[in-house]
């Protein structure tokens, strides 16, 4: 009976997991295409400062979980070693989502410089027991060269 319940849960998790993954990826692709075209630089030195009227700290964050089935499958692959594309996909989606939110926050900027990512696993303390949940913060400094958008920056 318990095994049946577990199996049912796995099947449901697999279906909803794949569905939400596909939906999330599709929505990321659409929003990436629609988001303001702002170059994102990871460098902090030699950033062109001519004409810069204002700068502002911008950031975006997201928390994404792995579904039950994929977590089990990932654990299984982990036994044999090799690429675990299941977890790669989750981290990729989370980072892209965070970067996207940061770009949206920087609307009107000419570029974003010195971008950094910060990653943490929320249920680290119970690793193995529950599926990993990854929290990502992407942050950087938005540079405004255009007067109108520089004046429109909300003050801290």
């Amino acid at each position: 009976m318990e095994i049946l319940f577990l199996l049912a849960l796995l099947v449901v998790a697999y279906c909803t997991g794949s569905y939400s993954e596909k939906k999330h990826l599709a929505s990321i692709r659409i929003r990436e295409a629609q988001a303001p075209r702002i170059p994102v630089l990871s460098t902090e030195k030699d950033i062109p400062a001519q004409g810069v009227r204002a700068t502002r700290l911008v950031s975006g964050s997201t928390v994404v979980g792995v579904d039950y089935f994929r977590n089990m499958l990932g654990g299984l692959i982990n036994l044999f070693g090799g690429r675990i594309t299941i977890f790669e996909s989750v981290l990729d989606r989370a980072r892209r989502e965070a970067l996207l939110r940061m770009r949206q926050e920087a609307a009107g900027a000419s570029f974003i410089g010195c971008v950094r990512y910060e990653t943490t696993f929320l249920n680290d303390s119970e690793r193995g027991k529950s599926p990993p949940t990854v929290a990502i913060i992407a942050y950087g400094t938005a540079f405004y060269t255009d007067t109108a958008s520089a004046d429109a920056i909300p003050a801290y």
Partner: protein, 107 residues
């Protein structure tokens, strides 16, 4: 207050350093939302409740850092970095730090 992840503020020069300033928060979602996130976690996808929590904690940590800088008499914080760690299940620490400085626009 000017906040930047860079070591300088464009078209400004640093006239005084006030040292490192920081802010931190450890937050956890209340039981109801944690339960919902747990259920959602079984099926994967974005955990909106936790994203919201992350945003709130980040804003709080940043405002604490800014308060410190203001008390020191700074008008900018440069080289800002975020750091996160998970303290317990569903609770995360957000730590933000930077260097408080006073800047003047260069003519």
């Amino acid at each position: 207050m000017i906040l930047s992840t860079l070591e300088t503020v464009p078209n400004h020069r640093i006239v005084e350093h006030y040292g490192i300033v920081n802010g931190s928060t450890v937050r956890s979602k209340h039981f109801g939302r944690d339960l919902m996130a747990g259920i959602k976690n079984t099926f994967g996808g974005e955990l909106k409740g936790y994203t919201e929590l992350l945003n709130e904690s980040r804003a709080e940590a940043m405002s604490r850092m800014q308060q410190q800088a203001q008390q020191a008499g700074a008008n900018a914080i440069i080289n800002i970095r975020f750091s996160t760690s998970s303290v317990a299940a569903g609770a995360a620490e957000i730590y933000v730090y930077g260097t408080a400085v006073r800047v003047e626009p260069t003519a």
